[in-house]
Structure formats: structure tokens, C-alpha cells
Symmetry: D2
Subunit: 364 residues, 4 copies
């Protein structure tokens, strides 16, 4: 952190500022130029608020943070080594991380009934994806929109998990339901609208369960990493960052703007694994394939895709959901590209592309 | 709501769509043009999701909402009459509303200690302001920043209330603390970052206590009114809307962009009273006066101003806080402008502008 | 400008950087801390590109500009004194500036025919406004929309000027038409879409004529002042800055978001006079009054208002235009508020509020 | 276009509105519901301004455009067939289009001297790229920044063209220089800041030369296509659209946000070929590779990459420029991915990947 002192500041004031700063337990280094003085703060300044420093004196022209305000989330914190989040599932442990195959999470926006969630899970499993997503508690803009089936939906997710061995990712909206959600979910999702619900972040941090942290609609990369920092600082190192589209000036043809460039930017700033959600980002199923391909090409560790057995009858977010056959086709394309980049899991014993090809043909 | 059907859609499909729509309990009216058909939905469509309708058929070109998606928050809901939110305080009931004097809320970002909050409250009271604000639970971007003194700060707010008779406005961040907060607060604040924390909205809706709903950083006017709708639909009609700056492409010189035009826009859409917070919006104390004046000139019902006895030592948000003398001066200016517009409370028996002038002089 | 050098940079590299910097003709001051070195550049750095400095060495961690990149537009350039732009008109010189009455510019979006422009000018004149605006060349999003009557419209503006003595403000879109526009206009307008048409800025800078520089849709305050700097650097000191709404994430209920906070921000950065255009900002005539009032309350030097004798038949921008009687009423309100702030011109001999009241009554 | 009439509108007013509309030469179809009437406009409504229609009557609740406002740029205009832009170059015709290999354009931000531009061109050529870019006239935010060498730079581009046979892409900023630029350029670039310089668009439209139209910083997809429409409507069908990053709320770590999702969106709206410029979008050379890969994976027709023999000494935009060896490596990666998608040109007679590998090795 560097403090620029205004030209003409009395020496006695500079001394006072230096004294005040030393209360923070960091060593200030004053360098007096002919016109301006600069005070450098050496040490761990991540926990210091620049505004607090600015407040010390009206003679302070500017406070410039050189180190990042996030610490545990920073790449430096792990000496440049990227972290892995290992999630145990009935089918075995799945690892999210830069040196691992791309992990695919798929499923409907909302869990609607047993048949649809189990049928979906079976196809998701067959394609080689490792996680089932499905909303039990749904954050909806309107109080009159379907709010999710809640606890009973969690039970259905547990059944789908049992039937397929897939890991489960589902959202928690309220700390009161955290224990319940954590009893079913293998990864707990914090939605975009709760990215700065700091109370909730602290509480999911305390559980130790892997957390999928979606980026807020207008969250800067730094805001987002600071929210991850809340979870990490609460003692939970298992955080996956999910970009799901940001709000910009143009939403005529896509719901949000998918910020693919967040991938390489995050790589230079943080060790945490990255997921991309092209379904919520674009809001239209026809744009999911090109954006999923782009995400793999720019190095994502994971993808979240919305699928639904009958999008036209979905209780929420139908227009952005792929049908099951469309998802199967997409997985073939993603698999080919994933293999090109050396980041696709080998087919396991229950699945071959030939078998899938048959399925796809059968459906058409 | 109007459904535009693609050119060349078979009549049988239009009939199917019409049938599907009638399940929503509203009457569809089909009008067949030479090229395109249009189906109008007559009745209360606020609770219908346009995406659900879009899902019905791939032959639907566009679904256009004519009525607003909010209902209880809409101006039509009260036949064009603006509502009042009446808040009992020890000094008497205070009314927020378009036909009432501008209500001023002032106080520090955080409650730091008894002396500072009581001293601040006394000056706030002396200027004629009606509410004291002060944070007990603080939403901070960084987990390392001061998070508020919590319960003990609530106790100090209660003391300040007792000492001055001012109403208290303070933020709730977690449903677990709602009862506690509600036991001290006369108005419960929902912060910008929790504007779409729908679980919390439902719970403050259930309390019946007046709620100050701050606009989210990137919330559209419609998002904001839909969040108000959550509270109203939960049975609580006492909602005040607070604009506190939106996030735009430029934050070099102000923290956020204060959207003053929200005032007249809201007037045409909703009956709810409006508050403007120029302190959080601009992030700099020097911009508070011109923005507060602008807010009054464009018709705000209320203002929230940050003041602190010693901004240079504030535990949070010092740069945007006014000193107590600066606040007193501001109140004289606001009072003059408020009177020009016929929207300023008459001085009560404990306060005269002469007395204040003396105080201001004494401080200088 | 401050250059932060990465920790562990070899001394010889720091010396090389220092040497490179001295080529810019400014004195570098190196201060070596225990971990990081900082180089301060003392002198006139406005003309130095931070990216150029960043390029010097990969050991440079950050380049921080302390001085502003604009110079002639800066408040410091005039030692904190605000400038005046004096525009000669047939009715006498009109001064735009902080210590002068608010100047009102009004007129239709486009000049349509002689009758409408002269009739409008007469009412504009009668209300005490000093300038007539009217588009001869119109920047339209669509090539199929009305593009303005061009040269013949300029002739009609000249007639309206002759008939009323009002000054004329009209836009130039093409350097080829600059001479022609300058022969009629008292103030040449650069539209929002041409704010960074640097070729055109240099050319209007060379004319010496007063220039109204509208802010671009997504121009930061700094971008805008840098565009003003182009005109100033070309030798033309007569620049007025016009805020006309910025593009944000929400355009459902207003066309743009009027950035009223630009007024106090500009006051701290530049000496140039400021105009606010609430008509283009909001895009709706019903929002013009509250935003114009807000602009006066926060200190604007000037206002631009769209009026049209028959908005329903306007060839462009009808929905945001006031009718002539509505404009007359608005002027009474603005006048009252302007007088409250001591910033309204005394009625001249051709106009009394009584006379206007009669006119307004007559029209109602 | 659909016109929604307010509830309770007198029949005589609906008749009047219908009459007014028929003046536009399109057939209005009235459908009277029990509450609201809807008027559908059948025919070519692209050239009708919705605001003009809105103006017709205060009884009009909403005007909804169903057809797009662009016509010649629309996919429908070519019955769903994507267009090709064929550009003759000394090395033969190069085709931009969806069924053709990805075209690569590379070169420095500015043309600085003969040696650097010719050396760059030779490497660009050797990698298999087809076009050399290089700025002669530079749009710079600051009047004090390097503005390009102008005419002499054009001469150097001509020399580089002669030396390598590459096509030339360079920007025109001023109609006065259009003829000169067109005499050297094979493709004329319109920069982001001039995307709505409608005078210039009309003039490049009149030349018939291929035009590269960069998207404005805050231009919606629709704004952008309307600007293309200006060129097309002027009789020039050879337009290539270039996405180069949009301005959002976050510019801390990348200069702009590259809108990769523009690719699939444009595919559904327009027949025009698409280019992506990851260099200007991100502003940092380290992010160019992942974004270029993402662009290919989501289907771009072309890429523009900044390269410079010595980025540290570049007169402009050094930080985003690749060195020549880095560009050679990038081309190998892009080539591999391009081949995966079947969209990479076969090596021609002057170039083999073995030869390039040798060059790359030699440089390392």
C-alpha cells in the first residue's frame, strides 16, 4: 500500500500520519521527494481498509493498494500453485482443478417430481457428467413465481443420487435450511443474488462442505474473490467459482453477458477452480453450445448446463434448458474438444460413445 | 400480456396454445391477422411468468408484458393514490409520504461507542431530523473489515433513542438477528446487497415493522419493485424505497452513480414513499449537499445522511460522513429549500433556527 | 505519477528504468524501500502515457497517475477559478458560468419548417430563455430515420435568430459542413456519438467558436474532459460541457440515466461551465421538470430543454418534447427556483411574468 | 409492429390512429378485445420509427417492434444464408465467411517505421495470416498522445504490402483522408469510437471497399447492426463486424469485457461475417491466447491480433501486443484448434509448419 502525501504538507503532519499508521502493526517507509512525499506500507496490508488510511489526514492525496485485498483466495497464498477441490460422490471422488478433466454438472433448474429428476439424472450419468444440479429452493424475482418444492425436492435429489451415484449440487438461500441442504448436497451452491449475503457466506464457510460460489450480477472480479475470502477465512478451503453472466447495458438478445475473460483473469489472481454456466448466462438454449465450447477453449475447469426432459413444460427457466437428446449431443461435442485439450475423463465402464450414439439416434 | 404467434403457424397449434393458456385462469383473445396471429391475455397477469408462456410452443415469436409484473407495489393497486408509511417514535409519529414534509434520517455508518452515538443523536435531534441511523451489523466487502459491534451496538441505539426520542433505523443482515433488531429498530433496513435475499424479504414482510428497502447496486427499477412486492405480499404494507447509487461504468470520482431520475420514475409506477441516500451514493462528503438538494428539488420524501463526530476516525465510511457542524449547516440549507417546496416540518418547541445558528457559530 | 517496482528487482534494472524515464524530460525520484522501490515523476506528466511507462520494463508492477491526464481543462490550470464562456447574440452577450444566471436553451429536436421554428423561437424568447436549439443535421441510429433538413434548416434557424434575437445552438456532424454550421450557429454542438470523433474535435477547436460538448453515452468523466482537452489544446477556450444521460443496465423506464452527480464532480475537476439536458436523458417529457429542478438545485450553469409546437407530429424525439404551454409553465417553475438560488436573470423589457401568466392562461 | 391501445379508448380515437398509420403505406389490422385493442402493422416496418407511432396518440399504451429495425443486415434479407466478403490481395482473394477458414489479421497498433512494419509483416505472412493491420491515424483519448504518422505511415503499409503480398487493414478517422486511406487499404476500418459517426459510415458505404466495422464501447448488438445498415444502405455490401470488447462495470483487470456471446447472437440475426479482436478487448497480451481460442471455439470467422517486434518500445498499446515469437506460437495453437473445427487454411506453398517450427526454435 502506498500513501501519496499532498505537495506542501508540513513535516510534522507527515510524522503524525506515520505514527498513526504504525498503530496498524506495519512498517511505514517515508520517502520525501522535492514536491511530494510517499509513504510505503510494508507487510500484510490485506486486512487494512484503504478508506481508514485515507481518513487519517486531509493531507493524504491518494491511497493506492499494491497488494490485493484478498489473501487466502490469492494465487500468492499458495505460491502460485492452483488448488483442487475434491468432492466425494457415490461414484467416487471427483476433482475440480486445473490439472484435471473438465467436470460437467447438469440438471434442471428446479426439481419438479421424482420421475423427471431421476430420468434426467440417468441421462446425465450416461453422458459421463459427474454431478446433478437441481433447485429445491429457488430465488425468483417475483414472489408469485414458483419458489421451488423445498424439502421434498431435496428428498428427490437424494433419490436421484442413490439411483445414479452422481454428486448433487443444490442451492441454499437461507441459513435456516443450511443443515438440511448440506445433508443432501455434495456441493452447496450460493446463488448470484446471495454472493454478498455475508452472513450466509460465513455459515457455509463454517460447514466445511464444498461451496459453489456464483458471481453476482454486477460483482467485480475483486468483489467475487472477497466473497470467496469470507468462506476461506471461515476455515473452508473448498470453494469453486462459477461465472454465470454479468449484467451489462445490453440484454436484448441474451439475458446476461457471459464473461469468458474471467477465466484467464482468475488464473492470474487466484488458485481456486473455475466453473462456467452458459445456460443462465445466455438464457437461451441455442447459445449454450458455442459458449460451452468457448469456456473449454479458454480453460474452464468445469461446466454447469441446464437440461430438462421437457423444457416447454419446465416450471422455471425452460427457454435456456436443453432437451435430454440435445444434451447428449452436446456432451459428444464437448468431449471431443475436451480430449483435444487433454482435459476429458476417459469413458467409464457404464458408458461408451457408441452406446450414446445409439441412444441419440433412437431419440431422433 | 400479448402473445405474438409466428407467421405461418398452423391453426391447430394456435388452438393448442389458447387451450394451454386458459389453464392459467385468464381469458385469451385471439386475433388473426393476414400474416401473424396475436393472442391477448385479459385479466390479472401479474402472477404469470412470461417465460412459462414462451415455453408453451416454439411457434410463439414473442411474449410482451403490457401490465407490470408487480401488483401490490403498483400505483394502480391504490388507484393512483400514494401511500403513507407512519412510524411511531418516542417523539411522536413520523409520516413518510408525498404529501408530507421531507423526513431526514441521519447518523453514523457504524455505532462505535455510547458517547459518539448519543452525541450524534443529540445534534441530529437539534437540527430537526426525525430518525437516527447507525449500523450494528455491517455488510462489508472484506471479511477483515470491521463488521459492526452487533448486539451491543443495538443497545447503544436504544440508549440514543431514549436520550433523544428519535426513531431508529438499523440494518438486519441475518434472519437469526431479526427479532433482536426489530426490538430496537423503528424501521428495519434491508441493505443493497440483500435486496434480492428473498428469504430475508419474506421474513421482514412477516414482522409488519416498517422496512427501508435499499436498491441493489445493479437492480433495475422493476427488480427493486419486485423485491418490495415480496414484502408487501407477505402482508407488510410499510415499505420505503431507498435509492443509494447504482453501479455504472464510471466509478473514478464517485463511488456509485446516484440515480435521481428514479424519483419521478417511481412516482409513475408505485405508491410507495421514496428516500434518497446521497452519502453512500457518492462516497464523498463534499458531494452530499448538492445531491441532497437535487433530491429535494425532484421530490424525494426522505433523505438519509451520514454524519460522524470525527469522520477521520470513523471505523467505516469516514470519507462520506459529514461532521456534526457540517450537518447542521446542511440542515439549514435543506430546510430553506424544503420550505420553498412547502415540504419542511415546522420547527418544534425544542428547536429554533436561531438556536441552531448559535450552535453552529459556537462550533466554528 | 508514481512507478511501483516489483519486489526483488535488480538495482541495475531500476537504474535502467530511471534512465529511460529521464528521456521524458521529467525528474525521477527513486525511493528504495526494504522490499519495493517506488519512483516518483515530478513535473508536468499530463502529456505522458502511463502505458508507455508500463512498457519500459516487466519489473514495473504498477504505474499510478497522481496528477490528472487533462491539463487545460483542469481547475488547477486556472488556479481554482471557474471560467466563463461569453457568447454574443443579437440580444446581447450571454455568459455561461458559475457566477451567472442559469442560461436556458430550448427548441425542437429537428428544424422542420419555418413556421414551427419561428413560432417556437418566439415562445422561447418570451419565457426569457436565451438560446434556440434545433437540429439541421441529425445523428439517427437508423439510416431510414429522418436525417434532418440540412442546409435549408440552417437557413430557417438564421431566420428564427433574426426574428427573435436568440442565439442559435445546432449540431455539426461532419467537418465538411463545419463552415456552414459555424456561419449560423452561435454555439456549435458536438453530439454524444461524436464525443470521441477526435478529427472533428480538432477542427471545431480551430474555429474558436463556442462549443457545446455533449457527454458520450458511456464516456467516463475523464474521457469527457479529455475530449474537451482536444478542443482547448487546439486553441479554443470556449467549451461548455453538456451531460445528457449515460447508458446503464436499466433503460426500461428512462432512455438513459441522467448523471446529476456529474455537476459537483465536474466542479472539483474543471473550470468549464456545465449544461444539463434532461430531455434527451430521460426521453420522456413527464420527467423533464423534476430533472431540470434537480439540475438547478445541484448547481448547473445551463439547461437544454426540448420543446415542440406539436410533439405528436414531431419528426424526431416527440415523446421527450414539451408543448409550448408546458414549457412556459416549466420556465415559471425554473425561474422561481433559480431566483431562490440567486441564479436567474432579471426579466428584460420585452417580458414580464404577468405577461407570460396571461399567455399561459390564454392557452389553457 | 404491434400497437397496444389503452383500455377505455374511444372507438373514434382508434379509428383516427388507424387512419394515421395507413399514411405509412402499411396495412393496420385492428383487433378489438374486451378491454384492450391491439393494432398490428403488417408489411415492411423496418423503416418506421416506433417513437413516431407512439406520438400519434396519448391513448397508445405501447408500441412493440416484432420485426427487427435492421433490414439489409438481417439474416432474413438473405433468406438465412450467410454472406461472404471476398477481399482481393496481392496473394490472392481472401474470403471472410462462415464456411471458410478463419482469417487472421495481425500487426502493430501503430505503424512506426519501415523496418518494424516490414519485419512484422514478414512474420505475419510466414505464420499463414492473410492481413496486416497497422494504424496510420490513431484515435487517442488524449490530445497529447501519439496520433499516428498519418500519410507517411500509409506509404509504409503500401511497402509492407508490396514486400509480402498481405492485404492491408487500416483505420480511417476523417472523411478528408478517406480517399488516401482507400488507396492503400484493402479493408477500411471504422474504429469503435466512430461506430456512430454516421457521416463517415455513409461515405465508406459509398466507396464500395470492404469495411471492418468495430463495435462501439457501449453499443448494443442492435446499435451495431444499425450502423452496418448505414453502410449497406449506401450500397456497400462488404461489411465485416468486429467485436473488440465492451465497457462494463469492471475494468480493473481487463480493459474491456470481450463479448464472446456476440458471436452466436449475431449468427441468429445477421448474415455478415464476424471478427474478434482479443487484444483491444483485454488490453493485456497474456489474455490474448485464451480469448482467441474461445473465439474460434464459438465460431468466429476471423481474428485480429496485435503484434509488435518490441512491445516495450511500442508508441501505443504495448501491453496488449504479442512479441513476434509469441505470435508465431499462438498461430500454431490457433492452427491446431482451427483444424479441429475444419476451419483453417491449408498451408500454401510459401509456408509449412516445419519451416515455422524452425523459425520459432531459432528465436527462442
Amino acid at each position: 500500500m502506498i500513501i501519496v502525501i499532498k505537495a506542501g504538507t508540513p513535516v510534522v503532519e507527515i510524522e503524525r500520519i506515520t505514527l498513526e499508521i504504525s498503530r496498524y502493526g506495519i512498517a511505514p517507509e517515508v520517502s520525501l521527494g522535492q514536491q511530494k512525499a510517499v509513504i510505503g506500507l510494508i507487510g500484510d496490508t490485506a486486512e487494512i481498509d484503504t478508506k481508514q488510511i485515507q481518513n487519517i489526514s486531509p493531507f493524504i492525496e491518494q491511497v493506492v493498494r499494491i497488494k490485493k485485498p484478498f489473501k487466502r483466495a490469492s494465487l500468492e497464498y499458495r505460491n502460485g500453485e492452483h488448488s483442487e477441490v475434491v468432492v466425494p460422490t457415490p461414484n467416487g471422488a471427483v476433482t475440480f482443478g486445473q490439472n484435471h478433466p473438465v467436470v460437467v454438472v447438469a440438471g434442471p433448474c428446479s426439481v419438479e417430481n421424482e420421475q423427471m429428476i431421476v430420468e434426467t439424472a440417468q441421462v446425465v450419468k450416461a453422458t459421463g457428467a459427474q454431478f446433478l444440479r437441481g433447485g429445491a429452493y429457488k430465488p425468483r424475482t417475483s414472489p408469485y413465481a414458483f419458489q421451488g418444492h423445498g424439502e421434498s425436492a431435496l428428498e428427490l435429489l437424494a433419490k436421484a443420487r442413490e439411483a445414479t451415484g452422481l454428486g448433487i449440487i443444490t442451492e441454499v438461500m437461507d441459513a435456516a435450511e443450511l443443515e438440511l441442504v448440506a445433508s443432501v448436497a455434495d456441493v452447496i451452491q450460493i446463488g448470484a443474488r446471495n454472493m454478498q449475503n455475508f452472513s450466509l457466506l460465513k455459515k457455509v464457510g463454517a460447514t466445511g462442505k464444498p461451496v459453489l460460489l456464483k458471481r453476482g450480477l454486477a460483482a467485480t472480479i475483486e468483489d467475487w474473490l472477497m466473497s470467496a475470502e469470507y468462506i476461506l477465512a471461515a476455515g473452508n478451503p473448498n470453494v469453486i467459482l462459477c461465472e454465470r453472466g454479468i449484467r451489462t447495458f445490453d440484454k436484448q438478445y441474451t439475458r446476461n453477458t457471459l464473461d469468458i475473460s474471467a477465466i484467464p483473469v482468475l488464473r492470474t489472481l487466484t488458485h481456486l477452480p473455475i466453473m462456467i454456466d452458459p445456460s443462465h448466462a445466455t438464457g437461451k438454449s441455442e447459445f449454450v453450445q458455442p459458449m460451452a465450447m468457448a469456456a473449454i477453449a479458454s480453460g474452464t475447469d468445469s461446466l454447469m448446463i441446464e437440461v430438462h426432459p421437457d423444457p416447454a413444460k419446465a416450471l422455471s427457466d425452460g427457454p435456456q434448458s436443453l432437451t435430454l437428446p440435445a444434451f447428449e449431443e452436446l456432451m459428444l461435442e464437448l468431449g471431443a474438444l475436451g480430449k483435444f485439450f487433454g482435459r476429458w475423463a476417459k469413458p467409464n465402464n457404464t458408458y461408451t460413445s457408441a452406446a450414446l450414439a445409439t441412444q441419440v439416434t433412437a431419440r431422433v
